[in-house]
């Protein structure tokens, strides 16, 4: 085990990745501490997958510095990966092998003994609620089951850092909440989590700290609460007047709120007091087809920083 005495398990300084003329990651700086749950947020093409690949020690940087568990990934990639658990966006399971065989064969890549794996596989099947499906081929499992199997596989080597690329995509709400709980427990045991997600509630639930990326750069960094406080208001009023009328009412609404965002399907009004603002809208003679008062979220932070919604 590396870096026992160090609190920082991932350190990136001016981290850069270029593909010919295209800059995928543009000189970013961040640190992740042991036992922390760290999130990377951003739309497709923001550079978060490239960053994940560099942290996973499979893709070499073209500039800057990066250390994982105190080691240089360009020269110690396989040794670092021995202590990483990776849950890729696409499950990448062997569809022809049974559930237990997928876990067992994957564990063998880490040089784990058959005796160790025999017990570990059963633990992981239990963890992923797949014990009854242990003899089913991966191809015969549902999407959610395959996802759970991929997550279990990422834990087979008892990693120090667990990398999760959109971990709950394809899971039903109940399974998502159970998984969040289990990931939280892993974190309590000292496992460092690095997560990318499109789900804002997931980022808020799981991440102690996160970076918002866009066009290869870090737009903001902090805890979910701090980011919301810094970049958004306390509450948001969502109103819909109809697709072709939203633009028409925007100038009037702009005068009532601290700030507004006009989206194709709705208008978002940022304010400290949502209900009061909604009353003002009605008093001004504007009658939206639907309205909603909610608390500010990371989605609003992202919209503020990039001018785009996360899921496009």
């Amino acid at each position: 085990m590396f870096a026992k005495d160090s609190e920082v398990v991932i350190r990136a300084k001016n981290l850069t990745k270029k593909y010919k003329d295209f800059v995928a990651v543009d000189g970013i700086d961040f640190e992740v501490k042991r036992g922390e749950s760290f999130g990377l947020l951003g739309p497709n093409g923001a550079g978060k997958s490239t960053t994940m690949k560099m942290i996973s020690s499979v893709s070499q940087r073209t500039g800057g510095e990066l250390t994982i568990l105190g080691k240089e990934p360009n020269t110690h990639g396989p040794e670092i990966r021995a202590h990483l658990g990776v849950v890729p966006q696409k499950d990448l399971l062997d569809r022809e092998l049974k559930a237990w065989e997928n876990l067992f064969t994957y564990g063998r890549y880490f040089g784990l003994s058959r005796k160790f794996l025999k017990q570990k596989v059963e633990e992981l099947l239990e963890f992923a609620q797949l014990t009854e499906k242990r003899n089913s081929k991966a191809d015969d499992l549902s999407g959610g089951m395959q996802r759970r199997l991929a997550i279990a596989r990422g834990l087979v080597n008892e990693p120090e850092i667990l990398m999760l690329d959109e971990p709950t995509t394809g899971l039903d709400p109940q399974a998502r909440h159970i998984l969040w709980d289990r990931l939280f427990r892993l974190k309590e045991q000292g496992v460092t989590l690095v997560i990318t997600t499109h789900y804002m509630d997931e980022a808020e639930q799981l991440c102690d700290r996160l970076i918002v990326m866009d066009k290869g750069k870090i737009m903001a960094e902090g805890s979910p609460a701090a980011l919301i406080k810094q970049y958004s208001s306390k509450e948001v009023v969502e109103v819909r007047f109809g697709t072709d009328k939203n633009e028409k009412f925007a100038p009037q609404l702009e005068e009532l709120a601290d700030r507004i965002e006009v989206l194709p399907d709705r208008i978002l009004l940022y304010t400290e007091k949502g209900e009061e603002l909604l009353t003002k809208i009605v008093d001004a003679g504007l009658h939206p087809m639907t309205s909603l008062v909610r608390r500010s979220s990371l989605e609003d932070v992202f919209l503020r920083l990039t001018g785009r919604t996360l899921v496009e």
Partner: protein, 276 residues
Amino acid sequence: MAELSYKPGTAVDPKRAVRWGSLRVAEYRFYSMTKWMGGIIAFGLGNPILFLLSVGLGIGALVDANSGGEILGVSYLQFVAPALLASAAIQGVMDEVTFPTLDGFVWDKLFFAINATSVSARQIANGVMIVALGRGLFTTLLYLGILLLFGAVPLASFFPLLFTSMLAGWGWAALMMAITARLENDEGYFAVIGRFVIAPMFLFSGTFYPLEQMPIFLQPIGWILPLWHSTELGRTLSYDYPIEPSMIALHLGYLTLMGVVGMLLTYPKFEERLSR
């Protein structure tokens, strides 16, 4: 979900994990292979056995009846046996370094999952090669057994013949793996290889008649292909077929060079592709 409790980072010994990566890839692929063993045997042996029956025995009977064994000095079956054996080895290894290798990059993308562990890209390539050779060895051994039963090769040449056939298999597999690693998708490429490289290889490598019988301008086709080199070595091991020691060195050297160059072209492409 049940609770999972562990002390992070204590289960794996990174040095041990890194050291045997190629063998672990091979272990996994051999294990996966057991799921379709019947198909592997059929693919590996089917074609060479059909050639043995149709050409070795069928045409052989015709040739032997008309020549009395005088033209080639041995029965026609003995003449074609070393070539058929080498072709069985080449076919056996080729089956592993074409579709299953491309599958690792393009369709199931399992190489990317493997590369996320302590196994390196180079070890994945070596693991695939070990399996290709294992697959080739399996079919070549079976085929050699069949040839022995037919009395087509002498028992004393069992291991030398196995070696020269597998050397050709390795050379070809390495070259094919380097090509496969460069394919972004199949796009009918393997069908083209099958029709315009593998089929001509049988026809232009002195398999069914001495290469010298061909016009001189066609003979270089045989010279560059591994089958001719292995066939020449096999014939000198099987019966009284004298060739110069320098030619033996040339055949062995050419097949070895083909394997080394193939592997050297394979490694960087595996590394580049798996880092995308």
